[in-house]
């Protein structure tokens, strides 16, 4: 009887999983291959479900299931006026929740077990690090060349056009896009101008330099892993991963600040790891490199400052025995940053970003209230209409991006700039009054950063129409070009998953759990990650944009490998003994 009960239990578990899969994968229920998935599911459940179950896999699964089921309802109702919470609390969600939870529990148990027992260290590694750096660099560059040739002079999105206009003095230089990146583009452009009059060739210099910088950073990372005795085969795989995987390759040739920020962010994390590793034997050059990289990180993205401020107490507490050098370094970094950011930028007449640009989230929340026709009181209406009329707010509202309202011609931008406190007070009252809509709007506006399956505009292929003389001039045969373009596709199995932000974030969380199990000290590396993620959760203008989170793509390999790097593990093992 017990055996039957067990079998019945397994059947039920696999049935719940299958029903959830059938719904979320839109399986053709009459397709026998769908049924085969059920059978496979049953066999795996029967064999491993209870064997691999752990407390942490259950907790993680609960979190992911909640994110997924709630996110799905938000996603489905982005453009409806339905209340997502009413839609969420249904019988259907309940059985799907159970099914998804069981599936996640099974799979996360499998993944955790695998990750916790993995061994990537080997004596089989490269002997000469300099040579390895050069080989890695050449391999990555060679892999990138087809992408570059097809996309010549590089992938140029509207932001880069705008930045070019700035350094060409066609428009005012602003801090909206980091000035350092605009400066980088200008220097490259000027360098290109020495050799050619062609706008395309001039523009291509920044792409080539960016490719060189990114390849160097990736190669440096590979050398770093080699020093930590990661197996040779894995390092070779990494070279090709950085060179060929479309997300790395396309971004290496895209004129966006986010790309180099991603590279610097990886260096920043490596630096933190080195601090942890060499805690007892830190030298002055470690602090110098940390200061330089910190400044690059801070100057290459405006929201990095918030991450850095969050990071400071953690690093100071962590290194409380050596607080002095850390405090000095960090103070110098902040001093340098603020001096440049204010007196220096002011001196050069750099226009500051509008303060209301950071109010994307409140604007979206009020926008959704208008979109859903909530009842505004007379006073609220009057106050609101000083900024934008309710009708315009309703029509300009776009759940995906706050730019719809922020850059709307209907918005009284001057008034907004000078009265943003008034807006915030109104927003506060409205949030209290229409709490459900406010939460719903928040969830939708940050969806891509916690829910997978949100397709986003990850890569801007080609060159945006412009009057600067930049245009795509493919230097490869059409068939090759088409092949390269098709690599950015949401329909290619496996490869398409690289564009899935939510998945990458979930995987980072899993790695965090593994890190917690294997070596808690390394969790310090996760503080900047959490900090960056929180800035997106607080003020992201788009509800899922890969380039905003490209830093996680560059950091992910490091987060993965730090769980297996030997020197730390040896110490911790000794301690445990």
């Amino acid at each position: 009887m017990k055996r039957l009960n067990n079998n019945f239990g397994y059947l039920l578990i696999s049935l719940m999983i299958y029903l959830a899969l059938a719904k979320y994968l839109s399986l053709d229920n009459f397709n026998i291959l769908s049924l085969i998935i059920y059978i496979l599911n049953f066999i795996v459940v029967k064999k491993y479900f209870f064997k691999l179950l752990s407390k942490r896999s259950i907790i993680l699964s609960l979190i992911f299931t909640l994110c997924f089921t709630l996110g799905k309802v938000c996603f489905d109702n982005m453009y409806t006026t339905k209340n997502v919470f009413i839609e969420y609390f249904t019988f259907e969600t309940l059985y799907l929740f159970i099914g998804i939870f069981l599936l996640f529990t099974l799979l996360i148990s499998i993944i955790l077990k695998k990750l916790e027992t993995l061994n990537l260290v080997s004596e089989n590694n490269f002997k000469n690090n300099k040579k390895l750096f050069i080989i890695s660099f050449i391999v990555i560059m060679l892999c990138l060349i087809p992408y570059f040739l097809h996309s010549f002079p590089g992938l140029i999105a509207p932001d880069a056009i705008y930045q070019t206009q700035q350094f060409k003095h066609l428009t005012t230089l602003t801090d909206h896009h980091p000035v350092l990146h605009t400066f980088f583009l200008k220097v490259c452009y000027a360098f290109g101008s020495i050799f050619s009059n062609s706008e395309n060739i001039r523009a291509s210099v920044s792409t080539i330099v960016q490719m060189i910088i990114m390849s160097s950073i990736y190669s440096y990372f590979i050398v770093f892993l080699n020093k930590h005795k990661i197996d040779k085969k894995i390092l070779i795989g990494l070279m090709f991963l950085f060179g060929l995987l479309p997300v790395y390759a396309f971004y290496s040739i895209t004129m966006w600040k986010d790309v180099m920020f991603g590279g610097f962010f990886l260096l920043f994390l490596i630096n933190i790891y080195v601090f942890i590793e060499k805690k007892e034997e830190l030298k002055y050059y470690h602090f110098i490199s940390f200061a330089i990289i910190s400044l690059l990180v801070l100057f290459f993205r405006n929201n990095a400052l918030y991450m850095y401020i969050l990071f400071i107490p953690f690093i100071l507490v962590y290194f409380k025995d050596k607080i002095k050098p850390f405090a000095i370094t960090i103070s110098l970094v902040l001093l340098c940053f603020f001096v440049v950011k204010y007196p220096v930028f002011n001196y050069f007449g750099v226009e500051k970003s509008k303060s209301w640009e950071y109010l994307g989230m409140p604007i979206q929340q009020v926008g959704r209230m208008a979109y859903k026709d909530v009842n505004f009181t007379k006073e609220e209406k009057e106050t609101l209409e000083k900024f934008i009329t309710i009708e315009n707010l309703k029509s300009d509202y776009n759940p995906i991006v706050s730019d719809g309202i922020k850059f709307s011609l209907n918005l009284n931008q001057e008034y907004f700039d000078s009265h943003n406190m008034e807006f915030l007070l109104l927003w506060k009252d409205l949030v209290i009054e229409h709490f459900d809509v406010a939460v719903e709007s928040y969830l939708i506006s940050t969806l891509g950063y916690w829910y997978p399956n949100l397709a986003n505009n990850a890569v801007e292929l080609g060159v945006t129409d412009n009057d600067l003389g930049f245009y795509q001039q493919s230097l490869v045969p059409k068939s090759v070009g088409n092949f390269i373009d098709n690599l950015y596709s949401y329909d290619t199995p496996i490869l398409s998953l690289q564009w899935n932000l939510g998945l990458i974030i979930w995987f980072t969380i899993i790695l965090g759990v593994v890190c917690y199990r294997k070596n808690k000290k390394n969790l310090l590396c996760y503080v900047p990650i959490v900090g960056m993620w929180l800035t997106l959760m607080v003020a992201s203008p788009v509800n899922g944009m890969l380039r905003y989170i490209f830093w996680l793509y560059t950091a992910l390999p490091l987060l993965f490998f730090i769980n297996y790097l030997p020197s730390i593990n040896i110490k911790s093992t000794k301690k445990r003994r």
Binding site: L25, L40, V44, Y490, L497, W499
Partner: protein
């Protein structure tokens, strides 16, 4: 190097998992950019890693089965997608590189499942203790099944009636002559309850409802008997419960128990026939004529309830003579009686009562579909061929009326001249043969398309109408429940719901029966056990030779009535002495 690769317990499973995953994505099973697809990939990798390299004495056979099923899935998908394409060629599409990838992917998936399951099933031993007391088992089963079916009766009262049944009701009402097109015995089966019902109530709906009730009772009794039959053979009680639940809960039985088709009772009779065959096998060495009058009666009922059943019975008779070659003295008279009664009734007796018989053109569905597809695909016919075809049906009409799923649009076309065929059968046979040789690719493509649903599982075709067709005899749906509830229950009669949708899959049943036959042979280590499977494969063969519809569920409903029994056959405890125990 090769040894190193072969011995790596991760490499092969991971590579094959990727093949499977890519195949599933490109065959539109999994969406490529969905996180859940990735989760399925993890499941596949884990499953393969632990199972695909398992070794057993059945690996070679399992690989053959897997390849066979994988090819069916690939070819069937192309045929299904191209069935309305006049320009695409199945054969050109079949031999492409992507299909090699699908072949590897599909084969790996099926192989791994079979290699995990089959060796276990071949060697499984059920404990004898877990059996039910036989007392009242028939009555309990009957009651449970009947109660489970009652909601369907209440929802669709007085029953589910299509055009065919309306024809038969018209015969019952005397509005049209009795014809053997619909089996005469089924006409009688309807006639008696209808007349009793009408005598009591003078209400058409009530009388038709009585037919449905009688049919429910008959079918429930047959299924209850089969449960009892298994119980008598000490089958494990969990298997008995599963069998009972299968008949009681799976929607097809509920829907079909109240559907007025000859195929329903026929399928019940086939189940009884299969049980008779099991009895025959059990008594193989102790067989005597007086014990098997039931075999004769069931045989007669089976072949009278459907016209094409006689072809299946010919095959069965032949196999019976081979299996029981040492008992010909008993077997031959039994078979003679069956055939004699059948032909006497079908011939002189039907003639005496003026019952119309079916036309030969009923049986030429496949050739008609083949020539129809040739016309549809713009094949150039010679003048002579064109003339001959034009006599049967004008070529343009043939081209336009061709429907890959069903021959009726040609056969029942206003311009179709059945007489032309009746008068020149040989000529048309020659024409068909020569056209098939000349346009072999299209002929085979047409054949495979016209029989698709009987071997390829992913065909979505109607299985029940869940209503009463328009008619002028006054029978109409008079449901006892609100429309919204009826609509929800009607969803059970489609292939859209998870799991339940797959129960309506003809090919799946055949795949399972095929595997069951294999397991039975391996368990008993005697091929004679295959005898039990002959009726179902016989019926399947008649479909593969002459089906007018490419996936008509009711034609093959018997496979489902027999499914639990045939799946349990490999695990039957011997009652007689004919099959040996598992080693």
């Amino acid at each position: 190097m090769l040894d190193k690769i072969m011995n790596n317990k991760y490499l092969i499973p991971i590579i094959l998992s990727l093949f499977t995953y890519i195949s599933l994505c490109f065959q539109d099973v999994l969406p490529a950019n969905n996180i859940f697809s990735l989760l399925v990939l993890v499941l596949i990798i884990y499953f393969y890693k632990n199972n695909i390299l398992k070794k057993s004495e059945y690996n070679r056979d399992i690989l053959i089965f897997s390849l066979f099923f994988a090819v069916i899935l690939i070819a069937g998908r192309i045929l299904y997608n191209f069935r309305y394409s006049a320009t695409d060629s199945f054969w050109n599409e079949l031999f492409t590189i992507k299909n090699i990838i699908y072949l590897i992917g599909n084969t790996s998936l099926i192989y791994t499942i079979l290699v995990t399951v089959i060796p276990k099933l071949v060697n499984i031993k059920f404990k004898d203790k877990k059996v039910f007391k036989k007392k009242y088992i028939f009555l309990w089963s009957l009651l449970i099944i009947f109660i489970c079916w009652l909601p369907y009766f209440i929802v669709y009262y007085p029953g589910i009636i299509t055009g065919d049944s309306i024809d038969e009701l018209n015969m019952v009402l005397g509005n049209r002559a009795v014809s053997d097109h619909h089996a005469v015995i089924h006409f009688i089966f309807m006639y008696i309850p209808y007349k009793i019902g009408y005598f009591i109530s003078e209400n058409v709906n009530f009388s038709v409802g009585l037919i449905s009730l009688v049919q429910m009772l008959v079918m429930a009794s047959i299924f209850a008997y089969s449960v009892f039959f298994l119980a008598k053979r000490n089958v494990n009680k969990y298997l008995l419960i599963a069998t009972l639940l299968f008949y009681a809960i799976v929607p097809m039985f509920g829907f079909y128990s109240i559907t007025m088709w000859k195929d329903i009772i026929f399928s019940g009779m086939v189940l009884l026939l299969v049980l008779e065959l099991i009895k025959l096998l059990e008594k193989k060495n102790d067989i005597s004529f007086k014990n098997f009058y039931s075999f004769i009666i069931i045989s007669l009922l089976t072949i009278f309830f459907r016209n094409n059943a006689i072809y299946m019975y010919f095959i069965l008779a032949l196999v019976t003579l081979i299996v029981f070659r040492k008992k010909l003295k008993v077997i031959v008279p039994m078979l003679i009686i069956v055939f004699a009664v059948f032909f006497v009734v079908k011939g002189p007796i039907y003639n005496y009562f003026g019952i119309q018989t079916s036309k030969s053109s009923e049986y030429i569905a496949i050739p008609l579909q083949q020539i129809g597809r040739m016309a549809y695909k713009g094949v150039e016919f010679t003048k002579g061929e064109e003339e001959l075809i034009n006599k049967l049906i004008p070529l343009d009409t043939l081209r336009e009326s061709y429907n890959a799923e069903i021959v009726d649009s040609i056969k029942f076309n206003y311009n179709y001249n059945a007489e032309a065929f009746e008068e020149n059968k040989i000529e048309y046979l020659k024409l068909w043969i020569s056209l098939c040789f000349k346009h072999f690719g299209i002929a085979t493509e047409a054949y495979l398309t016209s029989t698709l649903g009987y071997y390829y599982p992913n065909v979505d075709y109607w299985v029940t109408t869940a209503k009463i067709d328009e008619n002028d005899i006054g029978v109409h749906t008079s449901s006892f429940v609100p429309d919204n509830i009826r609509n929800e229950i009607t969803k059970l009669g489609t292939r859209t719901l998870p799991i339940i949708g797959n129960t309506w899959c003809i090919a799946l049943a055949f795949w399972l029966i095929l595997l069951s036959a294999y397991i039975a042979v391996k368990r008993y280590r005697k091929k004679s056990i295959l005898y039990v499977y002959v009726p179902i494969f016989g019926i399947w063969l008649t479909m593969m030779v002459a089906t007018p519809v490419f996936a008509e569920f009711r034609y093959i409903f018997s496979a489902f009535t027999c499914l639990p029994i045939l799946l349990i056959v490999p695990f039957l405890k011997k009652r007689g002495v004919s099959y040996e125990k598992v080693k």
